[in-house]
Amino acid sequence: MDLSPDERRIAEGAEGPAKAMSMRLVAETGRLLGAPRLLTVASAHVDGCLYHGDSGTHFAERLAADRGRVAVPTTLNVGALDMLHPDRVKGDAHHREMAGRMMRAYEQLGCRPTWTCAPYQAGHRPALGTDVAWGESNAVAFCNSVLGARTNRYGDFLDIACALVGRAPDYGLHRKENRRATVIVDTSGLSPALRDADVFYPVLGTWLGAVIGSEIAAITGLPPGQNEDRLKALGAAAASAGAVGLFHVVGSTPEAPTLAAATQGGTARTIRLTPEMIRAARDRLSTASEGAIDCIALGSPHFSEGEMSELRRLAAGRRFRMPVYVCTRRDLVEKSDLSDLEDAGAVIVADTCVVVTPILPDTGGTLMTNSGKFAHYGPANLGYDVVYGSLADCVETAVEGRLLRAEALWR
């Protein structure tokens, strides 16, 4: 690992202790990954601002006390408090205090208080081919796959360290040759109706994460020009089921106008998806298939304007008989009128989400979701059983007060 004279000077403390510690972390990570050097990044997205324990707060406060300041535009992922609706979070006083201190420390470091896992829908959209340092697995997958900007999966602490020094190790997905698809996932054996249904995309992502992991796939056979919310759902599910940092969807994502572009002309093995494989992936997302549903959880990643409109259209003015938690970006809450959804029984959650923060009643129970990521993490993080379904299934279940799931698509 070759550090430039400037980088070495910073690591030795010439620009203060916060930058020095950050440079050492970036360089040390680069060394263990076998990176030959560091490269310059244009922006960062920080996931380290979610409270998991006091150590993370102490780390951020150390950087802030040492007068650290981000060197590049930096957005923040969710925190562990809903600052627009402070009563939503049930954590004890210690949790609230330490989570709040952590969020303030990251703001002091000069990060934009976006508090969202969908920064790419809050205006942070680096251009195709730009090197950036992003954290949070869904944000990383979207940044690489849908924007075509280049980032590795930067873990908590390395994300802010990269932001403070404006550098990242030159390895992995920063290099074009490592962005090549080595496996082709052919969906053409699935029914056209399934391939064009929103509910399919988190399931495809779950399969991709579990089976392909950190390999890079080129998915073929999907209708071209897939919308961003479907790709976001696919990536989020893939990155929670496995270490997926980049995928290509031929005809939809920027590095895959054609299959040959996605594979960069190289060889790749092919996997043909069958309806059985996809049904098995769908079934893995649920831990229950019958019985009472206690609530609906939506918005992982955070709901977009389009998803909010779709929820409104499906609800069609009807009242929900159970809480429908909708997690979304604060900038969307601030600029939209969501009172009709709230009147119907929706509980809007901003800045955080129900799977990372205690918001749901701690009685346990069964939640229904259209998010592959919520389905994946719900049982372990919340102690709730999970039923996976489409957004329409979730709305009908909420309105009728009993589990309703359309099965026809999956047969």
Partner: protein, 136 residues
């Protein structure tokens, strides 16, 4: 006694019995930072406690917050005695690197070859120091 040697990701030393985790594990959402137990009910080692064990971890997956969970385990002094990986995982290593920078202590983390990883059987006693792993 068997002596193995791995690639040192984070320097340290530790002794304990091996907890072998073959199925991919995410520390965030899979390990409780307050108890060090595997909380994912879908994981085959559900409920096992990592504290004081030499954890042989075949595959990491998912969250980029796994570094934060490992840091919290080290800070709370309920961390594994050492972590032996089959593949380098920068996210997990970062938790140990930050712990060192913050003065919380050193957690040994090594990357083992596939052949050596296969020798890390459940319950065997292991001493890890620098790049060396000694199995009793």
């Amino acid at each position: 006694m068997t002596a193995l040697s791995g690639e040192m990701l984070v320097a340290g030393k530790g002794t304990g019995t091996i907890l072998r985790v073959d199925h991919a594990l995410s520390f965030w959402g899979g390990v409780d930072p307050k108890t060090a137990r595997i909380t994912d009910p879908r994981h085959p080692r559900h409920n096992e406690c990592l504290t004081g064990r030499v954890v042989a971890l075949a595959e990491l997956r998912g969250s980029s917050s796994s570094s934060a969970v490992l840091l919290e385990l080290i800070h709370a002094k309920i961390a594994p005695a050492a972590i032996l990986l089959r593949d380098t995982d920068a996210i997990l290593a970062l938790g140990a690197l930050v712990a060192r920078e913050m003065g919380y202590g050193d957690l040994a983390m090594l990357k083992m070859s596939r052949d050596d990883f296969a020798l890390l059987v459940e319950g065997r006693h292991a001493h890890v120091e620098g790049p060396r792993v000694v199995l009793d």
